[in-house]
């Protein structure tokens, strides 16, 4: 069965610093991987996805993520971070890719606080 782990429940950093949120996954086949963000008081919004191809994928709001098959990770990055990036971030895994519908499995989420 597939699973997603986000080991850091909370991350705090200063505005202007580089942010990297960790995500590791467990899946026997080639994964589809996603990042979603939940701003305070809002619903989840799509940031980016990895399907195949280049290991680094770029998304909305200046975010990018790097897929590393060697250690089954899909970390989210942004530099520099801004106070408006404070939110809860969810990594998610899709499988099996042959399905005609989504079966996203989400990680626990990481709450990011960017201090001005």
């Amino acid at each position: 069965a597939q699973s997603v782990d986000q080991p850091d429940a909370h991350v705090t950093l200063y505005e202007g610093a580089s942010l990297e949120l960790r995500c590791s996954y467990s899946y026997s086949a080639a994964p589809y991987l996603f990042w979603y963000v939940q701003y305070p008081g809002q619903s989840l919004q799509f940031l980016l996805k990895y399907i195949t191809g280049d290991a680094v994928v770029k998304g909305t709001k200046g975010f990018e993520a790097e897929f590393r098959k060697s250690n089954s990770s899909f970390n989210l990055k942004k530099s520099p971070a801004h106070w408006s990036d404070s939110a809860k971030y969810f990594c998610a895994l899709e499988g099996p890719p042959s399905s005609s519908f989504s079966k996203l499995v989400f990680g626990q989420g990481t709450s990011l606080s960017v201090v001005p």
Binding site: Q42, S43, L44, Q45, K49, S100, F101, L104
Partner: protein, 114 residues
């Protein structure tokens, strides 16, 4: 543009009482529809999905049921609420073209069972 609307925004219900949550998607024909549940402070768990009117598949057994009476409507319900049903319920849709499509989420319903 497509819009997704969930109702109600919040509910406070007693254990053993019935529940009905709704979701409507406008501007998209034949979407795939989903119900997700987020326990307080927890992750999201897919409960149901539907790829067409009248057909709903259960992913997790939580003593809940779902129906899709119209192409643009998805209903989540139960006849008897449990304390464990408390949490945040999110409706979502995706294009019906495969598993690599992004999900579009509604604003959710916060349910408190007392």
């Amino acid at each position: 543009a497509q819009t997704i609307h969930q109702w109600p925004v919040a509910e406070i219900k007693a254990v053993g009482s019935p529940l009905s949550l709704g979701c409507t998607i406008k501007g998209k024909s034949s979407p795939n529809l989903y119900w997700y549940w987020q326990a307080t402070g927890g992750t999201l768990q897919q409960l149901f999905y539907s790829i067409t009117v009248g057909q709903v598949e259960s992913v997790v057994q939580l003593n809940l049921s779902a129906s899709r009476p119209k192409d643009d409507q998805f209903i989540l319900s139960t006849e008897k609420l449990l304390l464990s049903h408390s949490g945040f319920y999110l409706c979502a849709w995706s294009r019906g073209t495969g598993a690599n499509e992004r999900l579009f989420f509604g604003h959710g319903t916060k349910l408190s069972v007392l």
